[in-house]
């Protein structure tokens, strides 16, 4: 039952509308059991300068078949229908995973029902007594749907491009390792074999090459670690942060012993997270506290405070501190505040921390003054414990 409406001569109105705006193409599905009401709806839309292509259905089965077959810009549905009602169209659309705006066109329903329609997902509600309002309502519903589509498209595009970028970082850092190993190994062999046998410049050049290769190896290794965060879809499990710190202390044994560092912690909570990532997070923070120590032996204090919705973790140190103007920059990948001679490193550690925390819906920041130690804070949402089946 397809009626294609060509432009019709209807007095002076269409001429004025044509001058203002071209007729908008509209594919509408009308759900209506009263044929004279169908005519009134079509007439109203035509007057609203739509170039209309419309189908009319009455039953839920017909409706379902139509939306499966065709694509529509809008659905105009009566509320009271034989055997069902206009809100049934929304249920069917949801079931079919279709996003088509539904405008309820009905006799008086009363405010409560009208509000209900909108709440349940109708784009608008137009009284049959006020059909001249219909074109504007339809136009708005269609526009909103377009914006929704554009927004969704942009989000999908962003997610895809992020995925591509992560994939690129992963593949690049992974595949760079092998040739880099050749450069590092063989420049080292050169250095070992020919040190002092060429001239002084040669020794210096070889040293630069060896140093560069080693630095790049660290960079590539850390970049790989960064791109690995969140790649493995590990199932979050209860993680005892006290045990995490024990592991961290064991992993950093050499640095702790060498610097005389003390790592203090008390009553840390059990949270729902990925164990490996929690080790990475705390290890990066503790290792930084040791690396950026002041003249005094490092004292690192780890505490957690329950703030109802979040756990607030704080890692306090007595190190060299960070100027407040650099407080944000340090979390950006590759950003460093020191030369390689002062402090070696890739500038990736804290961005890994940030990625781990934010992936879980938390936040990380630093509170510090230059020369007065630092406190790294991060939040971790208090999640419901994993329910055992």
């Amino acid at each position: 039952m397809i009626t294609t409406e060509k432009e019709e001569k209807q007095g002076s109105a269409p001429i004025r509308q044509n001058a203002d705006s071209p007729r908008q193409k509209l594919r509408a599905l009308i759900v209506e059991d009263n044929s004279s009401d169908v005519e009134l709806v079509l007439h109203a839309l035509r007057k609203g300068s739509f170039e209309l292509q419309s189908d009319v259905v009455q039953s839920a089965q017909e409706f379902t078949a139509r939306v499966r077959q065709n694509t529509y810009d809008v659905i105009l549905s009566d509320y009271r229908l034989p055997g069902w009602n206009g809100m049934g169209t929304i249920e069917i659309l949801q079931r079919e995973a279709l996003d088509i705006p539904v405008v309820i066109v009905s006799g008086a329903l009363g405010d409560v029902k009208a509000v209900d329609c909108i709440k349940q997902g109708a784009a608008d509600y137009v009284l049959k007594d006020h059909l001249p309002r219909l074109p504007e309502s339809v136009r708005r519903a269609v526009r909103e749907k377009q914006l929704r589509d554009e927004h969704r498209h942009a989000q999908e595009e962003l997610a895809r491009s992020n995925r591509d970028l992560e994939q690129f970082a992963y593949v690049a850092s992974h595949d760079l390792q092998e040739p880099l190993r050749m450069v590092a190994t063989y420049t080292q062999l050169l250095a070992e074999r020919y040190q002092g046998k060429l001239d002084q410049n040669a020794d210096k050049y070889i040293h630069y090459a060896v140093d560069g290769a080693i630095r790049m190896q660290i960079l590539v290794k850390d970049l790989l670690a960064f791109s690995r965060v969140g790649r493995q879809e590990a199932v979050p499990q209860p993680v005892d942060c006290n045990l995490v710190i024990k592991t961290v202390i064991a992993n950093l044994q050499a640095a702790i012993g060498e610097s005389g560092a003390q790592v203090l912690y008390e009553n840390l909570p059990v949270i729902v997270a990925d164990h490996g990532e929690m080790v990475q997070l705390f290890q990066n923070l503790v290792a930084n506290a040791i690396k950026f120590r002041s003249a005094a032996p490092p004292v690192i204090h780890i505490v957690a405070e329950n703030q109802k919705r979040d756990w607030l973790f704080s890692v306090t140190d007595n190190g060299i501190g960070i100027a407040p103007e650099h407080a944000e920059m340090i979390f950006v990948i590759f950003k460093r505040l020191h030369t390689h001679e002062e402090y070696p490193g890739s500038g990736i550690g804290l961005s890994i921390c940030k990625k781990i925390v934010e992936k879980q819906g938390g936040r990380i920041w630093v509170q510090s003054q230059l020369g007065q130690g630092s406190i790294f804070h991060f939040t971790f949402p208090v999640k419901k414990e994993v329910v055992n089946p």
Binding site: Q177, E178, L180, R181, M182, A184, T185, Y186, Q188, L189, E192, I214, Q217
Partner: protein, 150 residues
């Protein structure tokens, strides 16, 4: 160990990277042990060598095999599976020597019958240490199976 008591051990390196073969040979040559090193560059060659096919008719049977995992044509996992399921070859100790750190590669290699899994370190000093220790252990301390006369 008294030099001359043993016949020279035969080591087969299977690696597609000539730089790694050279380096491994170089480090092995510094060891005070008696052995002979042969090398092939991919999995198909390795299997031909073991079966003494074609060009390898006179190849000595290896006492120890050092196998990379990622190889052209036939990869190291397939070589390992074939070797360990062949009753004539299964007793040859195989040392997997690769850059892969993937726990799946480590488990799979042992499941397939690898005798040892060693990761290639990224710098010369560690690389040399690993190859030296491997040679000292497997060619010095370890007792290797007698070779069958074929």
């Amino acid at each position: 160990m008294i030099a001359g008591m043993k016949s020279k051990a035969e080591v087969l390196l299977v690696d597609d990277n000539p730089a790694d073969i050279d380096l491994t040979r170089e480090i092995l040559s510094k060891c005070k042990l008696h052995f002979h090193v042969n090398a092939v560059n991919d999995g198909v060659e390795a299997i031909s060598y073991l079966h003494r096919d074609g060009n390898y008719a006179d190849a000595p049977a290896p006492d120890l095999m050092v196998l990379d995992l990622n190889l052209p044509r036939k990869d190291g996992r397939a070589v390992l599976r074939e070797l360990k399921s062949d009753p004539h070859l299964a007793k040859i100790p195989v040392i997997v020597f690769t850059t892969s750190q993937a726990s799946s590669d480590i488990s799979r290699s042992y499941e397939l019958g690898a005798n040892c899994y060693l990761r290639k370190p990224g710098n010369l000093h560690d690389f040399a240490a690993v190859v030296q220790s491997m040679a000292e252990f497997w060619l010095g301390f370890a007792s290797l199976p007698h070779k069958e006369k074929r």
